[in-house]
Symmetry: C2
Subunit: 231 residues, 2 copies
């Protein structure tokens, strides 16, 4: 499996493609590192410039502001998740089996992904878990939506929705369900370390497998005739 994804990201997100230069790649990989360490709100181009021994001005030639950086990162993340799901379900016919694989790949980052790229997917997942809602909930969301900044996320949700539809074509709300499922995986990861009383998931080594089982449980009940392996 080739896990080094080079996702096609809407060119309006950046001013200059960070994939095209060493500096660009450094901007991306150190952004991930810094956002993870100090949080998105304290992260800025001045600190980043210092860290990578460059200048604010140079970074501004790639992205007009830090918000675009995180939009870029989240696009990459969802692109990656969908890619992972597609690769692993390619040969699988049975819809329920494919749903199981999709759920697994929504929750886990494949081990193969962890060594290849200058973009650390495990850290990126952590960032998206913490920051996703800050990305989506801005006053200009509908503008950015029109420009297509969120295409990657939408593609993933549509893809899950059509899986649900294959399994139970009578289900009335496949899109709502797929956003709920994606957000459930994010939320419960977040809650179990930050607001534990809001979830049944317990922090720990098997946290992801708990979440996987839980999402299977929900899908099993929501879709008719959909008993999955953990149910």
């Amino acid at each position: 499996m080739e896990v080094y994804v080079n996702p096609r990201i809407n060119a309006d997100v950046f001013l200059k493609n960070p994939m095209d230069s060493e500096l660009g790649k450094k901007i991306i990989s150190y952004s991930v590192k810094m956002i993870d360490e100090i949080g998105f709100s304290k992260f800025n181009f001045k600190k980043l410039a210092e860290e990578i021994q460059s200048t604010e001005a140079s970074i501004y030639r790639y992205f007009p502001n830090k918000h675009r950086v995180i939009i870029y990162l989240s696009a990459w993340y969802w692109e990656f998740v969908l890619y992972q799901i597609n690769v692993k379900t390619k040969e699988v016919k049975e819809p329920k089996k494919r749903l199981e694989i999709a759920i697994k790949n929504l929750v886990y980052i494949g081990e193969e992904a962890q060594t290849h790229s200058y973009l650390d997917m495990v850290i990126l997942q952590r960032i998206i878990t913490e920051q996703f809602y800050k990305i989506v909930r801005t006053k200009n969301v509908s503008v950015q939506n029109e420009i297509g900044f969120f295409e990657s996320y939408k593609r993933l949700c549509s893809s899950l929705a059509s899986l649900f539809n294959e399994i139970d074509s009578s289900f009335k709300y496949p899109m709502t369900m797929s956003t709920a499922v994606v957000e459930m995986s994010i939320n419960n990861t977040y809650c179990c370390s930050n607001m534990p009383s809001l979830t049944e998931i317990k922090c720990g080594a098997d946290q992801k497998s708990q979440i996987e089982m839980m999402i299977q449980y929900f899908c099993g009940r929501l879709l008719e005739k959909c008993q999955l392996s953990f149910n």
Copy 2:
């Protein structure tokens, strides 16, 4: 029904209780107005001071920063929703009927609430819909969680969770389900105006009733033997 709620809000949220003075009440009601108009990120104490003909310094005597203002507002909102649910389900015995009422009051703001208070609940609901995730997703969430800033939200979720439990005691994830349901009501309201392809809900006059039906549909499928009126 007495809808003028005077919620008990954790005193650590503010420096000085805004309910105790005219200026305090003005700060609250105009904050709501301004955040709705210009968004939380562009909202600040300087603009607010100008609007209410006071000074930044005076506002800082009530709240240490604007983030606390929105925590205060969201606490009030969830307190209000739970209060509404409690009042309207008080006389009702049948759990399924109570769930239906709870769902309705999660989505709608009772008409009675709209005239009484200096806090406009309809606008407040709009703000919470737009900003809720910004409130919860901060780097210090777990600190604030310990202080108890989010007690109101948690109380509401727990209350829904025990309702689910009454209806189907075999259901494994009542807390996760209740946060999913609350967020579903927020998310779909948000999506249908900002990212319409992510939801089956269509913008319009009956938007809230669509969401009510949808949540009933999900609850009906998730909980066993739980056919609600719209299913």
